[in-house]
Symmetry: C2
Subunit: 338 residues, 2 copies
């Protein structure tokens, strides 16, 4: 009986605003839910490209690739990023040549993706077209869209431990090289003010039956997507309900560096704090519904009082089935309060 | 006593016009000769870049790299090209993406060289500068110069086995994809007419005490170098004697596809045929001296009659010491007849 009721309420067109590892695992759960309910729902993913970086002359799109590899069964499941069966010989040799940066995890298999992408971009294709072409191989089972075809790069203003000077470091430098352990003062989406969402992105929002914000980083993943002018307005305008899942559990991120970056933007690192950052739709914000972890159930009233339908359920994405249950709860909550 | 006499006649500045595998092995022998005679000779290598190719957006310079890796102890000695300890994961993945060409041997370690080179070229450095930078790592013990900083690409007009049509195929396609087994009609050095030798190349010829033509391919290796306007004139003008070593032994190439390509340009595939192709210096050609294999000793008179000092000695480069003996013979022959 549970399965039948699940089927009845799965929306047809689901659009997800995703970062990398957390978003990809969330999407695996959503696909599992669709599969086990034998629904015909179609998923469109609007992926963060603010983490993108030019590395040794190649265009690297970590979040697009993490989603593509994860859903296409090419991911290293232990690391959560990069290719399974990966080797690091090109990286070793680049280091032997003494070229910088030497801290980025550029695997030999992964390199092929960046070579194909870079060559297609050089030939004049858009990142949207390139991503579509790469996905023909990986068949991720979702329509995967970069948030924009324009260059947007998330930078974090840090005090460089090497020289004590403040500088705007590319997000990858902050996260991979410094492991988010250096003091951060600001987050800046360079190029965002000049960027435009693609028509595909705008349609994925306006034509959706449901929008989901997975437990991705609210500052540099979902936050970067929202920084592209026009995307927030499209979310405010769509008829689809918007439901989010907290990536903060018990006052800390599950993975990544959201805690540090929420502090930079002066937002309380809690399930409620992030809900209030996104804001209630009824009050000019984004969220109709917000799922928090069972351990944070004390925050349900605060979030509800902020105008956002809230429920506490287990949020640990321990496996696709657990994640599917979480997705079902988010969908149910959104539909009950749409 | 032999060692002392060797030392007495080693020239100080030796310039070698080199192709890939054969040229690199020749250079190993020349270095061995210098080492065992404790001479202070300096070697400058003018390397063929007509084999260069853009591959998946990266600039690949097979002959420069073969010389650099061989003399820098990075070569796969079994294959004779590419890096030792090489893996092929990026190549596997490129094939999985279905991108062409899929027949080129692009190793993971090798890729790093092409990434560094391409990025430096994109930044505006000349190929000469880039090669110098790459050699800082490899320390090949020679001054390694591309024949030109301009783009020259050797093409072979073939009848394409896929569609029966004639087409100008890049040399790499002819050699690697078709293994020089398809009918060839012409060899064309595309861009050569517009190319210029660098000042470093011209000086390496004009200031040399000896010029050596190793047993590299006379059509597409040494031939491509000679196709750059100005290089042949510089060789004609230099005071240094010019000695060559036949890459043809007993009517066939030792390695490669010289036999096929000599046929294309209607030159007899023999030690004497190649000597006559280069021509005698005294008669407007390039050679003062020409070393042929012992098995071809019957051709000594014919070559001498053509105005080129000729001697038959063992030419098989079985190891660096055998090759050093061969180099010594070439140097001796050149000096006796300078």
């Amino acid at each position: 009986m549970a399965r039948m009721s699940e089927r009845a309420i799965l929306p047809q067109r689901i659009t997800v605003l995703s970062g990398g590892v957390g978003g990809a695992r969330f999407l695996q759960g959503l696909q599992r839910l669709i599969q086990r309910t034998t629904a015909t729902s179609q998923i469109t993913v609007i992926a963060n490209t603010g983490d993108d970086i030019w590395m040794h002359g190649l265009k690297v799109c970590p979040d697009l690739d993490t989603v593509m590899y994860t859903l296409g069964d090419g991911i290293d499941t232990d690391r959560g990023w990069g290719r399974k069966g990966e080797t690091w010989h090109a990286k070793e040799e680049l280091a032997a040549y003494g070229v910088q940066p030497d801290w980025f995890g550029l695997g030999d298999r992964d390199l092929a993706t960046h070579l194909v992408r870079t060559q297609m971009l050089d030939a004049g294709y858009s990142l949207t077209d390139v991503t579509h072409a790469l996905c023909r191989r990986w068949q991720p089972g979702v329509k995967l869209l970069p948030m924009t075809d324009d260059r947007v790069e998330t930078h974090v203003v840090i005090t460089d431990p090497d020289d004590g000077q403040d500088k705007a470091a590319h997000f990858q430098e902050y996260w991979i090289k410094h492991q988010a352990k250096v003091p951060a003062k600001a987050v800046v989406m360079i190029g965002a003010d000049q960027a435009k969402p693609t028509q595909s992105v705008l349609e994925a929002i306006s034509e959706a039956d449901l929008i989901l914000l997975p437990p991705s980083n609210p500052v540099v993943s979902v936050g970067a997507i929202l920084a592209v002018p026009g995307i927030r307005d499209a979310l405010l305008a769509t008829k689809a309900p918007v439901a989010g899942i907290s990536g903060i559990i018990n006052g800390d991120h599950v993975r990544g560096m959201a805690k540090q970056l929420l502090e930079v933007i002066s937002v309380e690192c809690s399930a409620a704090g992030v809900a209030e950052l996104y804001g209630a739709r009824s009050r000019g914000g984004l969220l109709d519904a917000w799922l928090i972890d069972s351990s944070d159930s004390a925050a349900v009233n605060r979030i509800s009082d902020a105008g956002i339908a809230c429920q506490a359920v287990p949020l640990w994405m321990t496996d696709p089935d657990a994640t599917a249950d979480m997705c079902q709860a988010a969908i149910d909550l959104a539909h009950r309060n749409a």
